[in-house]
């Protein structure tokens, strides 16, 4: 099992008010699965993705990634997991605006302590993989939304993670650009990557092999697609 969640809860406390973003979620995802996650706004999708991506920690429950208990890790160990075992793709791309595409893709390699030559080569390779070999020196402002998301995907791929997490990766893109990005995810899955993506678009959700619906912090349905 790549991912094993047991009784994961997340409670946000705001003054006297408690928000239960996740309520005792159990979930298992295997290597090389292609999963889409749907649910109404505020249902806890992003909260779940952040916990899976080790950006956030659960209030309760255990999270095993590749067999290791992530919920017991300290800040440095979590940073290492984020760096090399998970590739996170955001709706808003989250690229550094002043850095070139190549420099953005190099970031996780820098934090992985790679030497200059190695990281250059790997970053170029990742950018070639997403079809941006001719845009490496461009800054995010000089790229289209679709191209920015490709740079973000290349960055997520840079350290060869075992899991790709994408929170509404097409949410900021028009439908045709969104389709191109989805083709890229399909291809990455074909190549053996485990992909988990959040979407509001049923058409996109149906491209995956498994569809999980989440409602009010609970898993409402979990079905294998044809």
């Amino acid at each position: 099992m790549l991912i094993e969640l047991n009784g994961i809860s997340k409670v946000y406390v705001r003054g006297t008010e408690e928000v239960h973003a996740l309520r005792s979620v159990d979930l298992a995802i295997d290597d090389n699965e292609y999963v889409s996650l749907m649910g109404p706004s505020g249902s806890g999708k992003s909260t779940l993705m952040n916990i899976l991506g080790c950006l956030d920690s659960p209030t309760e429950g255990t999270y095993r990634l590749n067999g290791t208990d992530v919920s017991r890790m300290n800040a440095n160990e979590l940073a290492e997991v984020r760096n090399s075992r998970v590739g996170f793709i955001f709706q808003t791309f989250n690229l550094l605006p002043r850095a070139s595409a190549l420099q953005n893709v190099e970031l996780p390699l820098i934090y992985n302590g790679q030497r200059r030559k190695v990281r250059r080569a790997r970053a170029i390779q990742a950018l070639e993989r997403v079809g941006l070999a001719d845009r490496m020196t461009h800054r995010p402002a000089e790229l289209s939304g679709g191209q920015c998301q490709r740079v973000a995907i290349a960055r997520a791929l840079a350290n060869g993670p075992s899991l790709l997490l994408a929170d509404e990766p097409t949410g900021n893109l028009d439908s045709s650009t969104g389709e191109e990005i989805m083709l890229l995810f399909d291809a990455l899955h074909e190549e053996g990557n485990t992909v988990l993506l959040v979407t509001h678009d049923p058409v996109i959700a149906l491209q995956a092999e498994r569809l999980i619906r989440i409602h009010d912090g609970r898993i409402a349905s979990d079905e294998q697609l044809a």
Binding site: N76, R82, N83, L107
Partner: protein
């Protein structure tokens, strides 16, 4: 690797926010500049005093004068116990230590000089042939006083450049007779042009001390003695030996004021050190102000770049990595400020030295020692470290999800 990256990011930040950086660094620059400027002026002053002392025969002289005392009405009068000094005393002092290079008498009397229609008012100094060597002051033309002049009480004189100009103009002067207080003296030499502490030596008239006693003063006294040690380290011992020898000769009550050039120099050095510490300390406070400016700008920077910090955290930057990134940024800032300050301080010191030199005609240097420069730069880095830690710790502790959500 990550360090190089941090330095690169820091320099990039400084460059992107040029104006903001410049304004922040102004405080730092003024602080460092003031410290460096003042220290360099102080150092220049010290060097100047040492150099000028060197022209006076160095700090190895010991001056023996009658002890003066202050009366209730404020007047300074010779101590009644004081016994006038004579050339015999000088011989005694000469014998008191084998580490003395020379002992010169000090024997000045007002002198009215006349040559044809020209006249010049100055003072004539009775001295010995060693004078020229001790003060490292050479004759330009003719000769200096010789032993025969003293033995035979010759009425000869050696004159300074200004005396010559006033009396002779461009006319020949060697071998000419001038009237010194109505008595005929023959000019045998002309001294080189010279200045110390901005004072011209050109008004000097040097005569054999024996002649001065007999012809000018009419007694056998000298006013003071200046003993010159071979080495500066010997000055304290020599001072003691001289005092002992004089007491032995004149009795234990005899009192003389014995001042060494070394003690004067030490006093001057102490005064300058105090100046450096006090003014430098005040300027140092502005360094603190500069440091607070750096802390402020870093807090602003951390707030502005919260999202960037979130992105870096999401990509695997460890807390300690981010801590270093911001500390290095603070140190790069403060080091830049410090370096600019050193340059400004150097300019300030040089400027002040030039102004002093220009208006006083003293050759006044401004000196920035490499040690002082390194110290100030190290201090700048330390200030960056100190004031950068808090903002950096704030950045490193940000929660990634919160940071990513910020705009």
């Amino acid at each position: 690797m990550i360090f190089l990256e941090a330095i690169r990011i820091a320099l990039g930040q400084i460059w992107v926010n040029k104006l903001r950086t410049a304004l922040t660094l102004l405080g730092m620059m003024i602080g460092v500049g003031a410290v460096v400027g003042i220290v360099s002026i102080g150092e220049g002053m010290r060097q100047f005093v040492i150099d000028e002392f060197g022209k006076l025969g160095g700090a190895q002289f010991v001056m023996i004068t009658p002890q003066y005392m202050q009366l209730k009405d404020g007047r300074w009068v010779p101590n009644p116990r004081y016994k006038p000094l004579t050339m015999d005393d000088l011989a005694v002092v000469e014998q008191s230590s084998d580490r003395l290079a020379a002992v010169l008498p000090s024997m000045n009397s007002g002198a009215n000089l006349r040559y044809r229609k020209a006249s010049y008012q100055t003072s004539a100094a009775g001295t010995l042939p060693e004078f020229s060597e001790v003060y490292n002051w050479e004759v330009a033309e003719g000769r200096f006083l010789i032993n025969a002049d003293l033995e035979k009480l010759r009425r000869v004189c050696v004159i300074g450049q200004e005396v010559r100009e006033e009396l002779f103009g461009l006319a020949p002067f060697l071998g000419r007779e001038v009237k010194l207080n109505g008595q005929r003296f023959t000019v045998v030499g002309l001294m080189e042009d010279r200045q110390t502490f901005g004072e011209n030596w050109g008004d000097q008239v040097l005569v054999p001390v024996t002649t001065a006693q007999r012809r000018l003063a009419g007694n056998k006294y000298i006013q003071a003695m200046v003993a010159h040690a071979k080495e500066q380290e010997d000055v304290p011992d020599i001072t003691e030996a001289i005092e002992k020898a004089l007491k032995k000769r004149h009795g234990p009550e005899a009192s003389y004021q014995i001042v060494s050039g070394r003690s004067i120099l030490e006093q001057v050095e102490q005064t300058i050190l105090l100046l450096k510490l006090v003014v430098g300390g005040i300027a140092g406070i502005s360094l603190l102000v500069g440091g607070i400016g750096i802390m402020n700008i870093l807090l602003v920077s951390v707030a502005e770049r919260t999202r960037e910090i979130g992105i870096r955290k999401a990509l695997g930057a460890k807390p300690v990595t981010l801590l270093w990134q911001f500390v290095i940024e603070a140190m790069a800032l403060s080091l830049t400020g410090g370096a600019l300050g050193v340059a400004a301080g150097y300019g300030l010191g040089e400027g002040i030295a030039r102004v002093i030199s220009h208006y006083s005609e003293l050759n006044f240097p401004s000196i920035v020692s490499p040690e002082a420069t390194l110290f100030v730069l190290a201090l700048s880095i330390a200030i960056g470290l100190f004031f950068g830690i808090y903002p950096a710790a704030r950045a490193s502790r940000l929660d990634p999800v919160d940071a990513l959500r910020s705009e």
